[in-house]
Amino acid sequence: MPVIRYSQAIRDAIAEEMRRDKDIFVMGEDVETMGGVFGCTKGILEEFGHDRIRNTPISEAVIIGAGVGGALTGTRMLVEMQYVDFILHAMDQTINQAAKVRYMTGGKAILPLVIRAQQGSGRGNGAQHSQNLEAIFCHMPGLKVVMPSNPYDAKGLLKTAVRDNNPIMFFEHKVLYNTTGEVPDGEYTVPFGKADIKRVGKDVTIVATSWMVLKAMEAAGILEAEGIDAEIIDPRTLVPLDKDTIISSVKKTGRAVIVHESHGVCGIGAEIAFVINELAFDWLDAPVKRITSAQAPIPYSRKLEQLTIPSTEKIVSGVKEVLNRS
């Protein structure tokens, strides 16, 4: 199978879908020229022309707001936030409008709107260019939330997203763009609400998202050498969340560690731990542990940034802590 980059997988998904469906319109800051600052829309202008993809002014609120208006009137809107941090300018459009319009109109509005955004720390971009905001969008009903951790999922999930009739937060990770993975040549999609078991194991369940899946896999390698067999679950979509796969795993292992890069308080780790406690309380041999960035903004200094990002070592020791709990 061909091995391609995560950013290429995104690009391929966009191009293939735009070929399939002439109602897709792409817009965002600098998306035309050179395919944006991360190259994810490279070649789209050349193939589809200026009526299918457009540079916008620096105006995040109207990018998403016009996304809502376009989607409401029959365009499949695929809009980009250059960094997820900038969506904080457009939360009215995202949460008051996009997330609620279908409900507020009693189910009459149909809103095929995908908001692609790149998020995450790891590149020394400082507190305003390194956030992970998925928990906010999970909290507010009406949005689906997608977080692919590899090129295969990125492509398959984005194709699903573009075909969905709901507003979707599609979170790519800046550190993952250059990672590579196998992606089949032919057409495929990855369904929403279906977690992927990235590694089968029996001793402990690790639930990890996005970049953290890679860290968890590394940790599992180290743990394996010490005779600890971790199961790694990547939910892939947080809304809808595949509770079944998580719960079955925890019922098997009795112990769970959740790893995410966003802050802990009211994060997706708290939510998944809640679900585990609710549905697998009697199977739990230890409290669910979470490993997250510190409850502080992301620091610029590379030393401090490395300290806050959940590391392989922290995952290894977190797993041991959970296993040693009697």
């Binding site: 707001g65 029959g74 507020m104 109109t105 009693g106 509005a109 689906k144 075909r163």
Partner: protein, 331 residues
């Protein structure tokens, strides 16, 4: 100079009827509100009817509008049925949004009403998106009228929306209903310029002022803006000067706490667009008084029926609470 566009007999009568429909609808709704049948708050359009009603006759069914918290008039003008509107106000299943939206979210996609909005300025970006669909994607000649108050022109989204619409020459008519107040705050405190229309210069688009209580001026100005937009000439900003007769929301005294003087309100009431057009119609023998009286009588009975329809409509089912959060079937 381009020709002045003048509404014909049919248009004038339609505008008259729609203005009256709006007013009577709101009067009836106020009655139900007073009886405790409507929850939340309702923002009345009474006094400003000429704007929506005139826009309404100029739009095609395939054209769209975005509306505001003060949206009953826009909804009616774009073909909204008063019985389903009334049912929505009462939170019933037969309402336009199945009772889930209420006054501030009244929407009717089949008639091209993309919805009222609880957020001041909420319709601005949506209208830009509709413009993208029409001009760039479907390449048709449909237009969108985006209604908003002068208060909304101080929101950042006003700026971003007009800016993008201007750059891409989108077929949107930004129609500002300047009623001189935002809740209890006067334009004198909140606008550093005398006329909202000057803001058009920031986007290189036409900015036009008109008397929002004068159907003829509205008709002329809106016709031109719509024509420009249909022909690919891009957006316009139109400022219609008007006044709301009632309080900011129902239940609120119209000059409560002295933020407006009673004289000011009375002076504006003297400019009642309905009475004005009625007098014109009769004076110019466009129709006889009898016809206008019949229109009024019919509308009154329409409102009685609407109120009855609403009150007899069933409540939403318990199961509706968690429905409609997502579109369920995948394409």
């Amino acid at each position: 100079m381009p020709d002045i566009k003048i509404p014909g007999r049919e248009s004038l009568l339609k505008i008259y009827e729609q203005m009256l429909r709006i007013r009577l609808f709101e009067q009836k709704a106020t009655e139900l509100f007073t009886q405790g049948l409507v929850t939340g708050s309702m923002h009345l359009y009474i006094g400003e009817e000429a704007i929506a009603a005139t826009a309404g006759v100029l739009l095609r069914k395939t054209d769209t509008i975005t509306s505001t918290h003060r949206g009953h008039g826009h909804c009616i003008a774009k073909g909204g049925k008063t019985d389903r509107m009334m049912a929505e106000l009462l939170g019933r299943k037969a309402g336009y949004c199945g009772g889930k939206g209420g006054s501030m979210h009244m929407a009717d996609f089949t008639e091209g009403n993309l919805g009222a909005n609880g957020m001041v300025g909420g319709g601005l970006a949506i209208s830009v998106g509709a413009g993208i669909t029409n001009a760039i994607m479907k390449k048709n000649d449909s237009v969108t009228i985006c209604f908003f108050g002068e208060g909304a022109t101080n929101e950042g989204i006003f700026h971003e929306s007009l800016n993008l619409a201007a750059i891409w020459k989108l077929p949107v008519i930004f129609l500002c209903e300047n009623n001189l107040y935002q809740v209890f705050t006067s334009v004198k405190e909140s606008l550093p310029v005398k006329n909202v229309s000057v803001r058009a210069a920031s986007y290189g688009i036409p900015g036009i002022i008109c008397d929002g209580n004068d159907v003829f001026e509205l008709y002329d100005v809106l016709s031109s803006a719509i024509e420009i937009a249909r022909k690919g000439g891009g957006p316009s900003l139109i400022e219609a000067k008007t006044y709301r007769w009632e309080g900011h929301y129902t239940g609120d005294g119209y000059a409560k706490g002295g933020y407006r003087s009673i004289e000011e309100v009375e002076a504006w009431k003297a400019k009642d667009p309905i009475a004005r057009l009625g007098a014109y119609i009769i004076k110019n023998m466009i129709a006889e008084r009898g016809l206008l009286e019949k229109i009024q009588k019919d509308l009154k009975s329409e409102m009685e029926k609407a109120a009855l329809f609403a009150q007899e409509s069933p409540w939403p089912d318990d199961g509706d609470l968690c429905k409609d959060v997502f579109f369920e079937r995948q394409v």
